[in-house]
Symmetry: C2
Subunit: 309 residues, 2 copies
């Protein structure tokens, strides 16, 4: 799957992905109304609204991007109906040949990580049959448990030719509280980064990058630069572009000299573009998906120009 | 909810909880057969089997214990039907007046943590209505993001009078890889423990303990002793008893002088007791729930005797 991701990035000249993190407040009122007319103001109604919202954005943008990153929390807040909308979104994106990075940030002790790996990347055995619970291509994983919490994910990745992105340095303001703490004159995030590189060495794709990637927030470009060198064969998923403050020019050091090695994610900046002052003149609520497409084109331009400089 | 937990522990003289982490291989064949006869060897069939398994164990043990801890990964591996079984289990336990600690180990940047907090502890607003997605009483939370990843959980806890248990030192063999790293001559887990105590200070129950608890594995009793003093008002959830190797005598230092301050969790040791050589003479597959009841009684005895010594 890392080979397919690299192929698609090269073919589309587009190292970006759309974070499908729908808040109900992002969903235009005509879509909410239609869903609520059928299902009422219920969890089912909200789930239908975010699914229709996602579908329109996917339809408008799928030819421009290699991958999407649905954030499962935004669906989980609507309980079972929300998780059904998550699954529908994953399945629909795969129909559109998009690579799906489930932003689930799971992680636990070994036997429990194995269950998460099965549910999101693998197949669960039931009698003589086996089934995929959610079937993403990649998921994000939390490293706090160390190697035996990670290994079950690696095992399933090897079997299924899928991948993970492990949290190394997150994009939020207080990420430094633990992640930046100095251990023998090295910050924790660098020690985690070294581990990610080591775990990844055992699971290399033919493209020269590992199936084991890392998450490094766009909001910490200097640390991105350091981590790029700590993990030369690790693909870096970079959240925090746009609404969280990251800009294309800040992100060049997350990439390798080959122009590859990173994929930049934007969520609110794309899916709620129609609410952004930059786009409100040209687009309205009805044309929200066109606004998203324009925001993808603008983001791509910003990043590709920065990489060419 | 922390007050209710302390009350129930005192009333039942039972600082233990049952981890409802059903693997399909734990479910006796007569229950599997019945479920598969109706639903086939499908995700729905597996979900029905683990739900019926849980229900029998809850019915057999609910009067002995204050709380249960369903591990969501074990349900998530069966996709949507599995998560429906998780929800049914949570709801049924609450009907039985058990306190439900959702072992979900969620955690993310602020806006995303807010969605997890809403989905598991709070209520999501849809138009003029609001709904609970999963409605546990407590959940477990991962600290890797720092304060702004934790704060949304605290906000919902304050509003709903619910609680969280934050991972401090986990029970798995490689937990030390990051958690034991020394930072200015203090291990990371202690620094996390100090933060947990500080976060908890703002959310104290009338029982003298905070709504913000900590997870400290039974497999590291010396660290449990240190952390007990680092976090005097923090309730400690102690996984790893039994199958993972923890014993009652090892766990006394997780408790305060008042005999409170900790709750010990056993999963496999209770729910799959009928497979354990200790119980196979007296119990068979058909009487698996009675074996679980006996295992709860034995665990309670082991821990209470250790506390009295």
């Amino acid at each position: 799957m890392i080979n397919k991701l690299v192929d698609k990035i090269k073919k589309l000249n587009s190292p970006i992905l759309v974070g499908l993190d729908p808040m109900l407040s992002y969903v235009p009122s005509h879509i909410q109304k239609k869903a609520f007319d059928v299902y009422g103001e219920t969890l089912e109604g909200a789930a239908e609204a975010i699914w229709q919202f996602n579908k329109a954005i996917i339809d408008a943008c799928y030819d421009l991007i290699p991958a999407v990153k649905p954030q499962i929390a935004m669906y989980e807040q609507f309980g079972i109906p929300g998780l059904e909308a998550f699954k529908k979104t994953v399945d629909y994106c795969k129909e559109k040949d998009l690579i799906v990075i489930g932003d689930v940030k799971r992680g636990d002790i070994g036997s429990t990580s194995a269950a998460y790996a099965t549910g999101h990347l693998g197949r669960v055995i039931i009698g003589n049959k086996s089934y995929s619970g959610f079937n993403e291509d990649f998921i994000t994983v939390n490293p706090y448990f160390g190697t035996d919490g990670i290994k079950p994910f690696l095992d399933v990745c090897k079997e299924e030719k899928k991948g993970i992105f492990i949290l190394v340095k997150t994009s939020n303001p207080s990420s430094g509280e633990f992640q930046d703490r100095m251990i023998n004159s090295k910050p924790l995030y660098e020690i985690v980064g070294e581990k990610v590189a080591a775990w990844g060495d055992e699971l290399m794709g033919s493209c020269g990058y590992s199936y084991v990637g890392a998450v490094v927030g766009a909001t910490y470009p200097e640390m991105g630069n350091i981590l790029r060198h700590t993990m030369p064969k690790t693909f870096i998923l970079v959240p925090g572009y746009g609404a969280q403050g990251g800009k294309g020019a800040d992100l060049v050091h997350y990439f390798n000299q080959d122009g590859l090695g990173a994929i930049v994610s934007s969520s609110r900046g794309i899916i709620a573009a129609y609410k952004n002052a930059v786009y409100t003149e040209k687009f309205d609520e009805e044309s929200f998906a066109d606004a998203s497409r324009q925001a993808v084109l603008d983001m791509k331009k910003d990043i590709m120009e920065a990489l060419e400089d």
